[in-house]
């Protein structure tokens, strides 16, 4: 069984876990406490194909190109939270885009190695708790082959 989507998400959790300034990494977990911060959450993203526009007679079990848009959210409490989450953003973008396993072993799964990783952008969220609260959500786009026979 090869589930590229799951492999990508598991690898993202592992990548975020290498960041020394992140205390804990969660996946699809939505209830944190302040003592767990700085933390990150990998949120499974939507998955899409372009097959709705495919008018061919291609057999349904043939591979198709798929895209997934997972999100990674970073949380931090600090008096000056802006520079801190900016630094985490820089670290995380580089780690994901340069990761050898994602690039060579997971994403480029198509017959012609035609997968891709893209950084789409980020959104911030601010508030007050014991100190200033900052969250930064980074959006990534992964393109890979979905092979029904491998599932």
């Amino acid at each position: 069984m090869i589930d590229v989507r799951e492999n990508i998400l598991a690898r993202l959790v592992a990548i975020v876990g290498t960041m020394p300034s992140i205390k804990q990494v969660f996946r699809n977990y939505v209830d944190l406490t302040e003592d767990q911060l700085p933390a990150a959450a990998v949120l499974d993203g939507d998955e899409d194909t372009d097959d709705v526009a495919d008018k061919s007679m291609r057999p349904p079990e043939r591979p198709t190109l798929t895209t997934m848009t997972p999100e990674i959210v970073i949380f931090k409490l600090a008096p000056q939270v802006g520079p801190d989450i900016s630094m985490l953003r820089r670290e995380l973008i580089k780690l994901v885009l340069y990761d050898t396993e994602l690039n060579e072993q997971i994403v480029k799964t198509g017959r012609y190695g035609n997968g891709a990783i893209r950084y789409l952008g980020c959104q911030t969220d601010l508030g007050w708790e014991r100190s200033m609260f900052g969250a930064l959500k980074l959006n990534f786009h992964f393109k890979y082959a979905l092979r029904p026979a491998d599932l």
Partner: protein
């Protein structure tokens, strides 16, 4: 006219209040006052993820502050210590009173010093 300070705030502070010290920039050192600890649980939600913490706060009587030389302009960034913790005043709410806002309470919105 009912004296809310004498009949309401002072008895409440006598029961629920705790001793505090406040140091405000530009004033003469540290003052002693009575505050009511109003630290509450606080949940911040970002992208569907809830992060639980506290929203530290404290009530104080404006007449007590004024009598001890602390004007409203001195509230921001003052250091306040009570119940074993020291906080910085990041903002405040004037709570008002039927006797006028200057005879009511202020709620200090606090933040951790580090």
């Amino acid at each position: 006219m009912i004296d809310y300070s004498a009949l309401l705030f002072d008895p409440v502070y006598a029961e629920l209040g705790v001793p505090a010290t406040l140091i405000a920039a530009g004033t003469a050192g540290q003052i002693e006052l009575t505050v009511i600890d109003d630290t509450r649980s606080k949940i911040q939600t970002a992208n569907g993820v809830e992060v639980r913490s506290v929203g530290p706060g404290a009530f104080a009587r404006i007449p007590e502050l004024t009598a001890k030389g602390i004007a409203r302009a001195d509230y921001a960034n003052a250091a306040i210590t009570f119940n074993g913790r020291t906080w910085a005043v990041r903002s405040y709410d004037v709570r008002g009173s039927p006797n006028g806002e200057d005879l009511g309470e202020v709620r200090f919105l606090l933040m951790a010093n580090e």
